[in-house]
């Protein structure tokens, strides 16, 4: 059984499409809304893809913009220009 990873983001206008993109890219993820924030959990791995977000927001998106609204996470991080990955799997 793989351990759960999670990403917590502020719930605001900047993150609305980011959250949609993450949910679209991670079919196994589940969304847990909490006061003023959301917590997205997934078994083993969670990915955030720049391209999916760009399609939804209709502009260029730098994955490091995530830093502004990120609250907390669990899992090992790997960050490139195109994909941000949280994972306990090896």
């Amino acid at each position: 059984m793989s351990s759960t990873v999670f990403l917590a983001l502020q719930a605001n206008d900047d993150t609305r499409h980011v959250i949609d993109a993450i949910m679209a890219d991670n079919p196994a993820a589940s969304l847990d809304p909490q006061p003023a924030m959301v917590r997205i959990t997934a078994p083993g791995t969670l990915v955030v893809r720049r391209e999916t977000i760009e399609e939804l927001v209709g502009r260029d998106f730098d994955l490091q913009e995530l830093h502004v609204n990120m609250i907390s996470l669990s899992g090992r991080v790997d960050e490139t220009d195109d994909i941000f990955t949280l994972s306990w799997d090896r």
Binding site: F6, Q10, A36, E65, H67, N69, I71, S74, V77
Partner: protein, 518 residues
């Protein structure tokens, strides 16, 4: 509007990060490297290949400034709007303000200590990668303390208990718990500091601080605290990742590092959870509108989340700290023991307390079915009777404190909630007292360090809690009143019961005025 531009070929994130961190370092030519970085070896941690270090968040300084500036702009827009619209009058209840007091007195000064600690170790690691990461965290922590103090200063204009937060943090007995926590970490070596703060605190425990405080602020109408909380927390993902990277890096470098790291994990998980006693109490008792109980937060953020982490670290031979057994046994007692203590010892704190109402107690029974009705409800009902008779119970004796965590010895034996837990150790002809086996173990590992603990109760008896020029031999000298004056607590205004306090009256008065025309 977006203009069509021909994109220049940019370097990838990994290359940019490498150039802007390790690429900025150099090999010293006329001084031995051990003389330049004298502190990163004495703890016994062996590093063979610093190049194996890589921060997974590849944030370079230029991007750092850009995103931090954006965070500040968002923060101050809201802090200003909150102040300009008298946002404090939209709070759920005046009792909530005591959470803010606890925060500015107990937590904001820790952010400043964290800034100092990371600045210090950012100088002490011989590799550029961790130095850059520590420098950014040091700047973050400075920003956290500044924005917290700034945002909370709006409350200080109207309510008590906050104006002397710096002095209180240095001297008030209950605040020696958080203060001693960070002083212990900052007086360790650079690896212990980063395992203690970067890993045990940021990665293992920070969610337990964050969830109750920021969600609680949002839930109770405190837009100011919610915003600085989120703004600070947006740096935490980076801090946690640094903590995790350090631990992985150190464990991979040499097997001799494993037992040293395990010892620090055991120590700092315990010290961290002892410190979180204050948070548990805030969560279960101080938020008028509650988000989740301490026990629920513990299940999600420790059992689930840290379970995953320790499973991941098992391949290095790291195990869950043994203190977790006791923490589980205390889970359903912690907040109740703490609030009972603060209720009784309300004379020497700088926020107000109250007895839980009938509904509060029903919520607590539901959340703590095995403990609340059996051990704690009867106390509150008895104290409510005393209050109703006009004879509220108050404990005025100076409590005995644990030499390590500095918490009054109020905890009960693990698994035996009707027996007080006390441990002792002799060292160089003196006896020292502890709240638990784990605090005693920490002492016995470094007795020369912990015999120097400044214990607030002892300071009072030694005559160190009096203002300069005080004559304790004078006719009618009142040591308790003098100690309060030294602590800068105005008796009857800053301390005591919420019901009937100036804060309670003013909040009701101003809120009434805000809703009427005259």
């Amino acid at each position: 509007m977006d203009m069509p531009v021909t994109k220049k070929k940019k370097l990838g994130l990994k290359e940019r990060y490498a150039l802007m961190t390790r690429g900025l370092g150099w090999e010293p030519s006329y001084q031995p490297i051990d003389d330049i970085f004298p502190m990163d070896r004495f703890e016994g941690i062996k590093i063979h290949d610093w190049d194996a270090w890589e921060d997974p968040f590849r944030l370079t300084m230029d991007a750092y400034w850009k995103y931090q500036a954006e965070k500040e702009r968002k923060l101050y827009a809201i802090v200003d709007a909150f102040a300009q619209s008298n946002g404090h009058l939209t709070l759920s209840d005046a009792r909530y303000i005591n959470t803010v007091k606890l925060f500015v007195n107990g937590f904001a000064p820790l952010e400043y200590m964290s800034h100092r600690g990371f600045a210090h170790i950012g100088r002490q690691f011989r590799d550029v990668g961790p130095r850059v990461a520590c420098m950014m965290q040091s700047l973050d922590e400075m920003r956290h303390s500044q924005t917290q103090i700034h945002a909370i200063s709006n409350y200080n204009r109207y309510y008590s208990g906050m104006a002397e937060f710096r002095h209180h943090h240095d001297y008030l007995p209950y605040l020696q718990v958080p203060k001693s926590f960070f002083e212990d970490a900052a007086t360790g070596g650079p690896f212990e500091f980063i395992v203690a703060i970067g890993f045990a605190f940021e990665y293992v425990l920070t969610n337990l601080v964050f969830v109750p405080f920021i969600s609680g602020a949002a839930y109770n109408g405190d837009m100011g605290a919610m915003t600085f909380g989120f703004s600070a927390q947006s740096d935490e993902a980076r801090h946690m990742t640094l903590g995790l990277e350090v631990i992985k890096f150190v464990l991979e470098q040499d097997p001799v590092n494993v037992p040293i790291v395990q010892k620090w994990l055991n120590k700092w998980t315990w010290r961290g959870v002892r410190l979180l006693t204050l948070v548990a109490m805030m969560q279960d008792y101080m938020l008028p509108k509650r988000v989740m109980s301490w026990a629920e937060a513990w299940e999600i953020y420790f059992e689930e989340n840290c379970g995953a982490l320790f499973r991941d670290l098992a391949r290095y031979g790291i195990v869950m700290p043994p203190c977790v057994e006791q923490i589980r046994l205390e889970r359903d007692h912690l907040s109740h023991i703490a609030w009972c203590h603060f209720y009784q010892a309300r004379g020497t704190s700088d926020f107000h307390v109250w007895l839980p109402s009938k509904e509060d107690m029903d919520w607590l029974s539901a959340k703590y079915p095995d403990t609340f009705d059996r051990y704690y409800r009867p106390r509150y009902e008895y104290w409510a009777k005393c209050e109703a008779e006009g004879k509220p119970f108050e404990a005025t004796a100076v409590p005995m404190q644990c030499q390590v965590c500095q918490i009054p010895m109020m905890f009960t034996e693990p698994g035996d909630p009707l027996t007080l837990c006390q441990r002792h150790a002799d060292y160089k002809g003196e006896q020292y007292h502890f709240c638990s086996d784990h605090c005693r173990d920490i002492f016995e590992d470094e007795p020369e360090k912990f015999i120097q603990s400044k214990i607030a109760g002892h300071e009072v008896f030694k005559g160190n809690a009096f203002r300069p020029g005080t004559d304790p031999t004078a006719e009618g000298f009142n040591p308790a009143a003098e100690a309060l004056a030294f602590f800068r607590i105005e008796h009857g205004r800053d301390n005591g019961l919420h019901n009937g306090s100036t804060d309670e009256r003013n909040f009701a008065l101003w809120r009434g005025l805000a809703k009427a025309n005259d």
